[in-house]
Symmetry: C2
Subunit: 672 residues, 2 copies
């Protein structure tokens, strides 16, 4: 009796925790009050309603499995609800009943209901131990789909309603009497619960700050914790902070615990440039803080799952923790429940990136089971998309669609080019997923649609005059932005000849408005490295990312403008400290260094084959590791050549102008 996992209706676990997390955001600004009964500041801790429809889990579930056993087996149902039943060959039994199965073929099924959350089941047994081989029995498209599960919940004692975080103490680095109060500095950005112990104080307000200035600016600091001590003790909800300021100089017993997921950093990077090394560590720590129920955007303000942000975290994850579970959770949380009435996060491109991310997940991990498990969800989004595209399947904006792409000014007369390109990529991804699952019909249709969009993008949006893709084919203005051009190169959606013209007319053309957002920087740098210009990337590491580090950043910020001074850096969206100083999308250097410095990338799903194409960078010797499903790949570039030690088969090292087969578990050194 063992080896079970908790199982549930697909998505219930992720939707439940996603529902909770999306309802934890609080307001971060103080409104001017209009009645004397409201005390200043209280609006800061009020509920901030999610901006999109947030779905709850299914409260009913039915799952079953048919299998043949050759020897006797005893099974027993554990559940998080009393309203649960297990059936053996349609004979019902209670939770906790030990049921002996005789050798032969049996059908084991479970049914349950939980109003407050969702029903989950753990079946002790051998062949019939609960896992994804149990299938849904339902009146919906989920009929026959595999049960949901998580590798985090594999013990019958687990509580699936409580997210399984780890905790560790965060020491205080400095205490300062200042402004008539006390400022506690925890040394670096953190996220977790703050505990206060004091026998005299009953109520105290904590002004938190990602920066010292924010904590001390009690009228404007974003996160305010109104602590009410009971029996001399108060423990806060998890919050983001580095500094805590209280308006008292009385000694206060304050402590903090980091709340985190113990995802091991399997990826690694070291070079002769200490700034780059520090940056890599800071990026890794930024990822740690944002890796929770799913990949968060940032930890101070939204604390939501945004599909575009998450998309970039996935790639960083493939070069850092290689944690499949968090990717799968994030994808499921973003999917939401039926009916699909809006794009993911209400943003058109975020739906497209969601579809692409499923293929990318498979390409890095080789986890075909997940493709099978979410295929029904992919198809649900395809139906939704169909109802929201132009008659010929090209992108067009429908009412209530948020066309984001980037914080940039596009010529948005008609649909913008970059959206078309991402949509084409989404169909390409769906086609490859369908092909993998042997759904040849959908594979062919999706591939055709992708190719049609690519062809039409090249027909409609290409300006021979500009030698570039323009935003709009309807306005006649021929406005060029970098976005579509970057993506066309990155996804290989135009001819070699046009690529060359784009590189000349857009990429290296200083008159084309530069990318200023770290969000789109991810795509730009990926694309620049892709065309071989790693120098552009390393310059950005030095200037943009290095700029934050030189200002003392302990995590990567949401945005950085080197021209700003002092607390100007903390301003955003018109709020004095609204900028998030720990934002996941800033961690992309880990991905870029892994993929383009170490040069490691899969060439077929799950690293069945892969290549190592290291680039000599401008920071001397370097070495690092890239995780893969079956083991890490170590790469070192020194003055004399390149060393690779790989735990897996299937690799080719491209170095010194030649291809070298990489042996498994055996160090290879190539001069050059």
């Amino acid at each position: 009796m063992s080896n079970g996992k908790w199982i549930w209706h697909p998505g219930s676990f992720e939707l439940y925790h996603s529902m909770l997390l999306h309802n934890r955001r609080t307001r971060t600004r103080t409104y001017k009050e209009n009645t004397p009964s409201n005390r200043a500041g209280q609006t800061r801790s009020l509920f901030y309603h999610p901006m999109w429809r947030v779905d709850g889990p299914c409260h009913n579930a039915r799952l079953e499995k048919v299998a043949t056993i050759s020897k006797e087996e005893t099974i027993e149902l554990v559940s998080n609800t009393e309203i649960a039943t297990i059936f053996v060959d349609d004979m019902p039994y209670n939770v906790g009943t030990k049921i002996k199965l005789t050798p032969g073929t049996h059908k084991v099924s479970v049914e349950g209901f939980k109003a407050e959350s969702f029903p989950a089941f753990y079946i002790k047994g051998d062949t019939f131990a609960s896992d994804r081989t149990y299938k849904v029995v339902s009146h919906t498209e989920y009929n026959g789909v595999s049960a949901g599960y998580s590798e985090l919940y594999t013990s019958p004692n687990d509580n699936v309603e409580k997210f399984k975080f780890s905790y560790k103490n965060v020491p205080i680095k400095n205490v300062e009497k200042i402004n008539g109060g006390t400022l506690f500095d925890f040394g670096r950005e953190t996220f977790g619960k703050i505990t206060i112990k004091n026998d005299k104080i009953k109520e105290i307000t904590l002004f938190l700050g990602e920066s010292k200035e924010e904590a001390l600016d009690t009228e404007y600091s974003q996160i305010v914790v109104n602590a009410s001590l009971k029996n001399g003790r108060y423990v806060s909800s998890p919050v983001a902070f580095r500094y805590v300021f209280v308006k008292t100089e009385e000694p206060l017993d304050i402590s903090a615990k980091l709340e985190y997921l113990p995802i091991k950093n399997r990826g690694a990077f070291k070079c002769e440039n200490q700034l780059i090394n520090t940056l890599w560590d800071v990026c890794a720590y930024t990822m740690l803080l944002n890796s929770r129920e799913g990949f968060f955007d940032g930890i101070k303000r939204d604390r939501w799952i945004w599909s575009g942000d998450a998309y970039q975290s996935y790639f960083v994850n493939y070069y850092l923790g290689f944690d499949k579970e968090i990717v799968k959770r994030t994808i499921r949380a973003l999917r939401g429940a039926d009916p699909i009435k809006k794009h993911i996060n209400t943003i058109t491109d975020y739906t497209f990136f969601w579809l692409i991310s499923i293929w990318e997940y498979y390409f890095y991990t080789g986890d075909k089971e997940f493709l099978e498990d979410v295929y029904v969800d992919i198809k649900a989004f395809l139906s939704f998309l169909k109802s929201r595209l132009a008659a010929d399947g090209m992108f067009e904006r429908k009412p209530d669609d948020w066309v984001f792409m980037d914080w940039s000014t596009f010529d948005s007369d008609g649909p913008i080019c970059a959206e078309q390109i991402v949509l084409a990529r989404a169909y390409e991804a769906v086609g490859k997923i369908a092909e993998t699952l042997c759904d040849h019909d959908l594979a062919a249709r999706a591939k055709k649609q992708s190719e049609y969009i690519v062809k039409e993008v090249n027909n409609r949006y290409w300006s021979d005059k500009k030698g570039a893709f323009v935003d709009s084919y309807t306005s006649g203005r021929e406005n060029v932005t970098r976005h579509a051009n970057i993506l066309a190169i990155l996804f290989g959606y135009t001819t070699k000849e046009r690529e060359k013209r784009i590189i000349e007319n857009v990429i290296y053309n200083k008159e084309i408005t530069p990318i200023t957002t770290p969000y789109f920087e991810f795509f730009e740098l990926d694309s620049m490295c892709h065309i071989g210009d790693t120098r552009y990337m390393t310059d950005m590491l030095e200037s943009y990312w290095g700029g934050m580090l030189r200002l003392g950043a302990t995590t990567i910020w949401e945005e950085f403008d080197p021209n700003k001074k002092g607390i100007e850096h903390y301003e955003m969206y018109g709020g004095k400290y609204e900028k998030s100083l720990c934002h996941a999308w800033g961690a992309s250097p880990i991905y870029l260094l892994g993929k383009y410095a170490l040069g490691v990338r899969p060439t077929s799903p799950g690293y069945k084959t892969y290549e190592v194409r290291p680039n000599r960078m401008d920071f001397g010797s370097f070495e690092g590791k890239v995780p893969t499903p079956k083991g890490d790949i170590f790469v070192k570039i020194s003055d004399t050549g390149c060393t690779v030690l790989s735990k897996i088969d299937g690799g080719i090292l491209y170095f010194g102008g030649k291809a070298h087969k990489i042996p498994k578990n055996k160090r290879i050194f190539v001069k050059g």
Copy 2:
């Protein structure tokens, strides 16, 4: 500050309570066990999973209202969740804050989240007191729809998560030592909580019975309560029973409380035939027991809301309690949430009856607000229907459709005629609803579709040879059942000439299989009375319903066959006591007597105009009352004539071959 109602996202309250009630059914049979660790009987109290998808409520809600006030007003938010905010002109305030509004135009909005159930709001105030004038703000079709509310929840102290039942003590009528145990007889069928007090007993099993035989037959009695006494006390969940048997002769302090809704019986009926009077009372009591969160089918076994059963309860209600709230709750519970993937209760005709019931609700009550509130739901079902009909809009069976109509054998080669007729009626209802809401486009389309189906029914299904509608137009077998023919007459869907032929060839043709189910008896009797044959109805009251009363029924049974003997009467679906002895659909005599003996019925929505067409019955003088939205109508038929006393305008009395205007609040007597 007052006059508020609790408000919520439309349907949340009904879906929440419907979810709970649909998950309260327990298994009613003992399975043969296959392992020694299971004790006999335990399977009887195990969870019985609902047979259709049961939806939960929205866990997030946003509602708002804009209005202009001419004098100062103070508002305050009360909520069932801590995660709730009220905004005045976009300025947020906490629950419990008293906010002064200055004269002028304001926007007041509320937002909230509750994971365990659904967020609900109560705004104290005057103009801005919470009610349906608050509208939904959401990313779904519900945007702009009125907030949900219930007239049962109008105090800030109410708990919307607890259904507001009343309780009263049910005295024990008899205690008998028998079969080595004790049998408690509560005198008549009841539904409620059983309390046991005893200082010595820790565990005791209660064997419940709607009949004495069932309670004593401990191996087969359907409802078994395994009572564990704590501190000498046990209170059961609400259950159906008349008898309670325990396997001990020790004195046991047992008591029971009826759980019910205090809906006043505004309808009344008395005649010279005592059996009919008793029957009316028993029917009324049957309705009382089945009138709960919604209209239940029966109280012992399913305790679910079935659309077809509820449809009949609505009509009885219009002649008994005239409780609008329970009709609205039932309709909303049946609607479920999006996406609509199956028919209501998975039954095709039950979707059609649901649509018809909304029009009928409006026709009896004149409550146009409800039409407005559920119009979005009606349209959702129309979209669903469109995807599940034949290309020409006629009915056809799709995979997973349960085509019920009745427990009868139809020639179901191709779609059966009766389904087409009910579908036509549904479109007719939708057309009239749309017309009422000035949606002329949909009104015209729905009317056209209804007329098309009626025309095609007359083309395809009429057999001139049989002089009747046949079940199937595809098989060539020309099989005639009563159902389609009854409905065609009742809904006026064929020519006068064909009606005559149907009456002769079907209705009075003993060779056509009679209706044997009380479910369809409702339609048959309605139809017979409709063509003027009230004698057929009163004969049934005497034989069918009277037959149950003569066997001591205290509530109306699910089914009755006079040819059965003893406990054969309690058998159904292959279970010894599976038959429900308190089944709502048996209460139709209240409707039939009100509509056809007293002869009262609206002729325009909400009794704006109405008619009284009493029929002299075969039970001597009689009198009674029929409720309407604005007051009751009293009718009395004596040897000498007809008396009417009405509280409302707009009535015409048809009696003695003439039409007489009925004055308001003034007795009128017409000889005849």
